[in-house]
Structures are given as C-alpha cells and as structure tokens.
C-alpha cells in the first residue's frame, strides 16, 4: 500500500487536463508513441465537443522512481459539470490527492476555484501544476501570484509543465509519489469499497469502478451493496490499464474494477458501499446519495412510427446511465412518448444528443419541469412533474415548489449583477462569504424551476465564465403557481405547456410567443401563437403567411427536379413536428428554454 497513490486531475475547461492525462499514460509506458492518440480518457464525442467530462474513466499507471521503487498510480478522472457534481465528489472521495492544473496563459479561473474547494472538502493533498509553459503568452509569475493570493496555496510548490511538449512530466510523477500520501486502510478489516462509477459493456454487463478502503475482494466472493443489500457473485476483478487487466484480488488502498453479473448500470448506485456477504462491514461510506432526478421532460419521436425504436433506444441508453429515469407518457398533440427525469438541464441535453447521435433517434422534448406539490381542497395531495397533470385550478388549496440552496463563487466585481440575477429569479435568504481575497461566495434559496430555466447560462454570461455554481435541494415552499398553455392556431400544444410562478407568467408566455415566431417557418396560412392561462389569452404573436411560392413552369425535366426537392424536404421533416397543419421545428421546442437576453 505504501506504493499506491490515488489522484485526480482537476482544472478549468481547456487548461489541458485531457492532454496531461494522455501524457502521463504515455510516460508510464502504457502505450508507445505511435499509439498515442490525443485525449484517450475523454472517449465520448459529446464530451470532446463540449469540453466536459461526463463519464469518468480511470487508469492505473505503473511508475518506477529514481530509487527503483515500483508504484501504482491510479488516475481517477472526474466529470466537470454541476449536474454531475455528485459524481465528482465520489471520484474525489476515492483519492488522496489532486493535481490542480492551471493554464500558464489564462491563470486561475472560475472552475479552478470551484475545483479547489471540492478538493479541500475532501481533505486532499493539492499539487498546483502550471501547464502550457511553452506558450509565448505564458506568464508564470502572474500565475504564481494568483496561486498565492486567490487560491491561498504555496506557489513555490507549483510544478511547471507543458503537457503538450512533454516537459516537466517527470516532476509531476515525482510530486505525485512524494507529496500525495499513500492510502490508509487495512486488509484485516471487513471489505468496504466505494463505487465511484459504473459503465455498461454489452458483453460483460456492468463494470463497476471502485476504490477499496478496507479488506479485499477476490473472484468468487459474494458481495453485498450496503444501500439495498443486493448480493452478487464476483466474476472478475482487476485494474484499468487502457484495457481491463485481470487481477486475483483488489485490496485496501487499490482502485480497480469489478464484474459481478450485474445486468444494468441502474442496479448499482454511484456512492454505494460494497462489502462481503460473509463478513460485512456495517457502515456505509459517507456521502451516499441516491441519484435524484430534478428535472422532468417528455420525449417524443418526431415520427409517430418511431415510438418502438425510441423505446428500445432508451432501454439501451439506460444501461449506461443510471441517472436517467423514464416511463411511458402520451400527449394529444405529440402522440406516444416517455416522461423522463434528469439530474439537470445539461444531463437532459446530453441524453437528447446521445439519443440522436448514437441511436439515430429524431426526438422532441417538452419544456422541462420540476416536481410540484399540490394540496387539493378535498385534502388529497398530488405531486405533478408534468404540466399535463396540473390539477383543476379551482380544486387547488395550496401549491408548493421545490427550492434549492445555490452557492456561487465569483470575483467580487460581479457581485451586483449576480445579486440582481438571483433576485429576478425569486431568490431569498441571501448569505455572503469571503473565502479568499477578492472572491465572494453568494448563497441564495432559489426555486429550482428558476435554476433549470436558463440560470446557469445567464450566470456564465454575466460573469464572463468566472462564476462557479452549485446547488442542493432544500425543501418545498408554498408558491402561487399557474399553468400556461401555448396554442398554435388555437390548438393547444401540450408539449409547450408549463407551470410557472404567477408573476412570471405573462413575461414567460410573451417570451415563448416571440421565440416560436422566430423558429416556426412562415407557412401558407397565418399562424397565431397564443399563451393562455385557462381561457385567458395573456400573450400573442402572429406569423404572416407567405403569399406566393409557386414556380411558373413545370414541364418534362422540371418534374424530376421538383420531386427530388420534395423528397429532400420530406427528409427534413424528420425534424419537424406537425401540429394541425403547422410545422414546428424541433429547434422551436428547445428555443423556448432560453431567455431573451441570453
């Protein structure tokens, strides 16, 4: 155990986390130069495009120091977005230290701060690493200063490297082995291992990533999940190289994988503790949370015939994303679909993109909603996460909506703008902290509905990316809510209905009317878009028809040309939803999530 180190790399986007990870892998000799493919750890397309890590991946690096001692260094990758902050915390809980990577030209940025706080919460050894020193714009002295002043860390301890050029890599290894403490724990105690990730493999079922704190696991052991007491027989354990590498056992301090005939990822929960059936450890490792969907939206196939194939795709998708929950749903305007629960808006977008890209599904999603609670006059209590089931307003005694406690860390200069944003979004109960000089931490109680509606994007805009943001569920609070319906040519489009706070209803309805006006193409008849509460029209816009589109002539050859055009349009239809005779592009459904000023 003396020769094991467990660590993560944390960094602001683009500061070079993936590049450094690849470089470490290469340096450890896991691959040769020729195989060196950029950014091995981030294997999903979407992640690469968005520059965020969603699914973490782990690798065990062999390392021999200058005294000839052999080490095993476990690099545990962490996801990088607030929707996944829970996963991040589980990954960090599996480490003893982190490399805090800072771009030599950009310096300390918002996520650098947020990441630092997360690492500090877990009492980890923090090694600042200044990357990209090869850049002409690199300003190492300034970055050192920021490390001292803004992060409150010892800048002399910072390592200089260029992940791209490969300089300073040996120093990074040295620091990992010399400064990060070896894991504590003992094989003498009963097994307790933390699940920090799980992935689905179509041949082998669920592959659990875990960190063993005490005890050991071997093939043939019967393990038990402490949260739900489910038991499984271990088929294989091992460590992550670039591929899985079998071992006889995983013991205290080690990080590796475990395969135990578990069919879907949802049968395991990240954060859960694994122990042995025969000799159980009584305690759940701290910090376990069931993944809780916070945001709900319905997914419909754009072509009704694709319902079954969408169902199949969701089943397959779910194998690898335990956080997604769904059940059947149907809508008058949109037909059969699914009501889904997501961790947050980003999670929603990722699911949408992956369904389209990896599963070829053309889908449409309804306006996201949170879960509301209603006390009816009859005394009945109902929970509604779908505007479709909004109770008859005459029957409602009391409405409640979920509140979260948000934490925003920003440079002081943005304080005014951020305060204003929070108040606009019905924030109450503010609190301020000054974690380090020049930085301020702002806490507010905010309705979750306001948070999922574009809050993060707005925050990023007004803080120019310097805002780090996190939230956690607080409680349900009384609120005056109304349901706004959108009508297109007098036909209600239930996918566009939403539950909002009374005071916001007109503004939101107007905003949606305008958005739809922009996104719905002109058609041959006038299109009237209305927002209504009950029978009351509160907002309206119109799309004037086009007047003339017909081509003058259509003889011999024109017919083929024209047909081809229609065939192409028909293909494009797979991204349109017909409501009555009006074609609503998929884009329109998404656009309503954005505010005017974003």
């Amino acid at each position: 155990m003396e020769h094991i180190r467990n660590f993560s790399i944390i960094a602001h986007i683009d500061h070079g986390k993936s590049t450094l990870a690849d470089r470490l892998i290469q340096h450890a000799g896991l691959i040769n130069k020729r195989e060196f493919r950029d950014q091995i750890l981030d294997s999903m397309d979407i992640e690469r495009e968005r520059g965020i890590t969603i699914k973490s991946q782990t690798v065990t690096l062999p390392y021999k120091n200058d005294r000839g001692e052999d080490f095993e260094l476990n690099l545990i990758d962490t996801p990088g977005h607030v929707d996944f902050s829970y996963e991040v915390s589980r990954a960090l809980a599996s480490c003893e230290g982190v490399l805090l990577l800072i771009d030599a030209a950009q310096g300390v940025e918002a996520q650098t701060m947020a990441n630092l706080y997360a690492a500090m919460e877990h009492d980890l050894e923090i090694i600042p690493v200044i990357n990209k020193i090869d850049l002409p714009a690199a300003d190492i002295e300034r970055v050192r200063e920021e490390i001292e002043i803004e992060l409150g860390l010892d800048s002399d301890a910072a390592i200089l490297c260029s992940a791209k050029a490969g300089t300073g890599i040996e120093e990074v290894f040295k620091a990992i082995t010399e400064r990060i403490p070896p894991p504590k724990g003992t094989t003498k105690k009963p097994l307790s291992a933390l699940i920090f990730d799980a992935q689905y493999d179509s041949f082998r079922g669920t592959i659990i990533s875990c960190r063993v704190f005490d005890g050991s696991i071997r093939n043939g052991d019967t393990i038990r999940f402490v949260s739900n007491s489910a038991t499984h027989r271990v088929e294989e354990v091992g460590v992550f190289r670039l591929k899985l590498e079998r071992r006889k056992e995983l013991s205290a301090g080690e990080v590796g994988y475990l395969i135990a005939g578990i069919k879907t990822v949802s049968d395991t929960s990240v954060g859960d503790t694994i122990t042995l059936e025969s000799n159980p450890s009584a305690v759940l490792l701290p910090g376990f949370k069931e993944p809780k969907p916070m945001v709900f939206s319905s997914v419909y196939p754009i072509a009704a015939d694709d319902y079954l194939s969408l169902a199949e795709s969701l089943d397959k998708y779910k194998l690898n994303d335990a956080a997604l929950v769904y059940q059947k749903d149907s809508s008058a305007a949109l037909g059969q679909g699914f009501r889904c629960g997501f961790l947050g808006l980003l999670h929603l977008e990722i699911v949408q993109e992956r369904l389209e890209r990896e599963f070829g599904q053309f889908i449409l999603m309804t306006a996201p909603s949170v879960k509301y609670k209603f006390l009816l006059k009859s005394g009945e209590k109902v929970t509604v996460d779908n505007p479709h089931y909004y109770p008859d307003p005459g029957e409602i005694e009391k409405s409640e909506e979920p509140f979260v406690r948000i934490a925003i860390i920003i440079p002081e200069r943005y304080m005014g703008a951020v305060m204003q944003l929070c108040m606009e979004r019905r924030g109450v109960n503010s609190k301020f902290n000054y974690p380090t000089h020049g930085r301020i931490e702002i806490n507010f109680d905010l309705p979750l509905a306001e948070v999922i509606y574009d809050f993060y994007d707005r925050l990023k805009t007004i803080t120019q990316g310097y805002g780090s943001f996190d939230y956690e569920f607080l409680d349900y609070r009384e609120s005056s809510l109304v349901k706004v319906d959108m009508l297109v040519n007098h036909e209600k489009v239930d996918a566009l209905s939403l539950i909002v706070h009374q005071n916001n209803s007109r503004k939101r309805a107007l905003n949606i009317c305008e958005r739809l006006k922009e996104e719905i193409p002109r058609q041959m008849f006038k299109i009237i878009i209305q927002g209504a509460i009950g029978g009351n029209i509160i907002a309206r816009s119109t799309i004037n028809p086009y007047r003339k589109d017909v081509t003058a002539k259509c003889y011999g050859g024109d017919i083929t040309r024209k047909r081809k055009l229609l065939e192409k349009q028909r293909k494009g239809k797979s991204r349109m939803k017909m409501v009555g005779a009006v074609e609503i592009p998929q884009k329109a459904f998404i656009s309503i999530l954005k505010t005017d000023d974003s």
């Binding site: 040519n489 058609q523 041959m524 008849f525 086009y546 007047r547 003339k548 589109d549 017909v550 081509t551 003058a552 002539k553 259509c554 003889y555 011999g556 050859g557 017919i559 083929t560 024209k562 047909r563 229609l566 065939e567 349009q569 028909r570 239809k573 017909m578 009555g580 005779a581 074609e583």
Partner: protein
C-alpha cells in the same frame, strides 16, 4: 379535361437554337446556328431509334429554344422524316413555339402545310419599354403583325405567352398587356411570372442591385389580378400559369406532363416518360451530337419511379391544376384528416365533385401544399 385525354403518347422535339440568348432565360439553347444541320441529322437518327416504339402519337410539340429559327428546308425535312417514321392520331394537337419576327405569310403557310394546328407565340409583353428591357428581338408591332398573319394563315388555335413581375412593370402596364393579348381572342394564354435563375445575366444584375424585383405581395397581386381578369373574359384558369378560352383549348400536350401520361422527347435536353420510367438526353448540342458519333444513345439519365415517387409527383402535379386530385387517391397521403379542413378553411382548396381542387389562392402556394402531406 382530365377524362378525354387519350392515353396515346405525345411527341416532343427540342430545337435548341435561339438567335440571341435572352438575359433571363436558363433553358438550354445555343445561338450557334452552324450546328443546325448536324443537329438535324442527329435528331433523325434519334427518331430511328424509337420508330419501333410507338405506332401513333396524340400530340406533336416543337419547343425550344426558338423552333422558328430553323430554315424552311430543315423544317420540311424534319417534319417529313417524322411522318415517315411515326404516325399521329387524326386530329392530333400539333404545336410549334414561335417568335413573332420569324413569322411570315410564306413560313406560316408552310407550317400549316406541314400539319401544325397550334401556334404558341412568345410575345412576353405588349409594352415597348419592357420588351426592350427583356432584350427580345421583336417589337410590339411585330408581335401584333404576327398574330394577324397567324390568323390569316388559318390557325384557329393560338397561344400567347406573356410575362409579369418584370422590373419596372406596374400593374397598369400589366393589365394593358393582358387586355391587348385578349383583344386578339387567343384560344389560350400563358401568363408566366418572371423568375430569375442562377447564372443568368438578370440574376447577376439583381445581385448587384442594378435591377429590383417586385416584392412578394406584388407577385401575389399580379397573379390574383391576372386570374380575375382572364376569368371575367371567359378564360378557364386550368393550371398555375395557363388559361384556355374553352375546355377544348386546354393544351393537350402539356397536360400529358401533368398527368403522368407517356411522352417521348427527342433532341438535346429532352425528357421522356413511358411505363413509369423517365429518361433524359444530355443537355448540350455538342454532347448530343457526340453521342451519336460515338455510336451511343444521347440518353444521359434514367429513373424508374417507385409507386411512392409516382404518388408524390401526382400530388404536386395535381395541385398545380384546377382539376386537382380525386379524394380517394388523396386520402392515401399522411395527415389528410387534420390538414385538409384547415386548407379548406383558409380557402386554399375546396372539394368539388369528389375532387380536392386548389382555389386561385391555393394555386399561389401550389408548391407548398404537397409539403403538408409528406
């Protein structure tokens, strides 16, 4: 008009020569008249390729280009050769497109002798300035003269082509062109909107803002006024751009295209349609000639239409004609149940005698209506 069209095929001959290229035209034609003899030779060879295929045609249509630019000798030879190898039904509609200043007494007499019974005259406008703007070869006077000569020669089926939405054309100007056209009591009028095609000189002029095209609302007004004007004067608006004084003057040949009836097209760029297969010749005269030199056929492409493609075509073709589509075939398309009532309510289509037919307003958007049922 639908019912009485015979299922016999039509014959189209493309004569791809113009004396001078008009600045808005993107039809394939060449001003190089030296190619005419070789072209004639090649067309004759192409005729021989098909002579087995069809015993008799229901129409003959000489289109262009400007068919009247070929000389008397070539014209006689071509028509003679056609009759040697093909037969035509008695009373077959035989149309030739003509440019006003190519017509003379003699030449019209020859066309009659050769069996043509319908002339489609490219007048475009009875307004001097607009004719000049369009860079047509003829004058207003020549156009009027030509009409008189056509009547004198005994042609009792005349189509006049005129054009609206020309830059600088006011509605009044257009109405006076329309009135002038109608004053000659043509059996048929085709009113086309000037549309600019990429690559034409006018297209470029618009791009650099030298000319300014009418707004969409003007286009709409032109169209609606045209329809109204001609309807009042007894013309039948039977297709987007076509008007006939009587059912019997509906263009038989053009209707073949719109009804998926068979037709054979000869000459460069001509299209043919038989047994659900459409094929087309290479576009340029040079390629066309070369294919014969090389011992090949000039056919450049061919497609066999699937049932779905045929349905799709008939959908948009039908909505371009006031005959519309019979309800039963129509009901096989998607969304008819929801969309049809909306179209009816918006006064874009109506249901008449078991057919869904576009209204005048519907013809304005005839290209979009099918999109709703894809």
């Amino acid at each position: 008009m639908a019912a009485e069209i015979k299922l016999k095929p039509g014959l189209y001959i493309h004569i791809p020569f113009c004396i001078k290229k008009c600045p808005y035209c993107d039809f394939y034609s060449t001003a190089d008249s030296r190619l005419i003899p070789a072209w004639l030779d090649a067309v004759k060879r192409e005729i021989l390729l098909y002579r087995e295929y069809s015993s008799s045609f229901s129409t003959l249509y000489f289109g262009g280009g400007t068919p009247t630019v070929i000389n008397e000798h070539a014209m006689r030879e071509l028509v003679g050769f056609l009759h040697e190898n093909f037969t035509f039904l008695p009373g077959a509609e035989k149309t030739i497109e003509a440019n006003p200043n190519d017509l003379s007494r003699e030449n019209l007499k020859m066309l009659r002798d050769l069996g043509f019974n319908r002339i489609s005259l490219g007048v475009q406008s009875f307004d001097r300035e607009l004719l000049e703007f369009l860079e047509r070869r003829h004058t207003v006077y020549e156009a009027e003269q030509a009409i008189e000569l056509i009547r004198e020669a005994g042609f009792s089926n005349l189509n006049i082509d005129i054009m609206y939405a020309i830059p600088g054309q006011t509605r009044d100007k257009w109405i006076s062109t329309l009135s002038r056209a109608v004053s000659f009591k043509p059996e048929h009028v085709s009113c086309y909107q000037l549309t600019l095609k990429e690559g034409t000189p006018f297209w470029n002029l618009r791009k650099n803002s030298t000319i300014c095209m009418p707004e969409e609302t003007d286009e709409e007004a032109f169209f609606l006024e045209t329809a109204k004007f001609l309807k009042h004067r007894g013309y039948l608006h039977y297709e987007v751009s076509n008007f006939a004084r009587d059912m019997k003057y509906v263009s038989v040949h053009n209707s073949l295209y719109w009804k998926h009836h068979p037709y054979l097209g000869l000459g460069p760029a001509a299209h043919s349609f038989f047994n659900n297969t459409r094929w087309w010749n290479c576009k340029s005269v040079k390629q066309y000639l070369k294919s014969f030199e090389d011992g090949n056929t000039p056919v450049e492409g061919r497609e066999e239409l699937t049932d779905d493609q045929l349905r799709l075509e008939s959908l948009f073709l039908n909505f371009r004609t006031t005959g519309g589509m019979d309800i039963e075939s129509f009901q096989t398309f998607k969304r008819v149940g929801t969309v049809l009532p909306i179209l009816e309510k918006s006064n874009l289509v109506k249901i008449k005698d078991g057919r869904v037919v576009p209204t005048t307003k519907g013809l304005l958007v005839a290209d979009s209506i099918p999109c709703l049922f894809l």
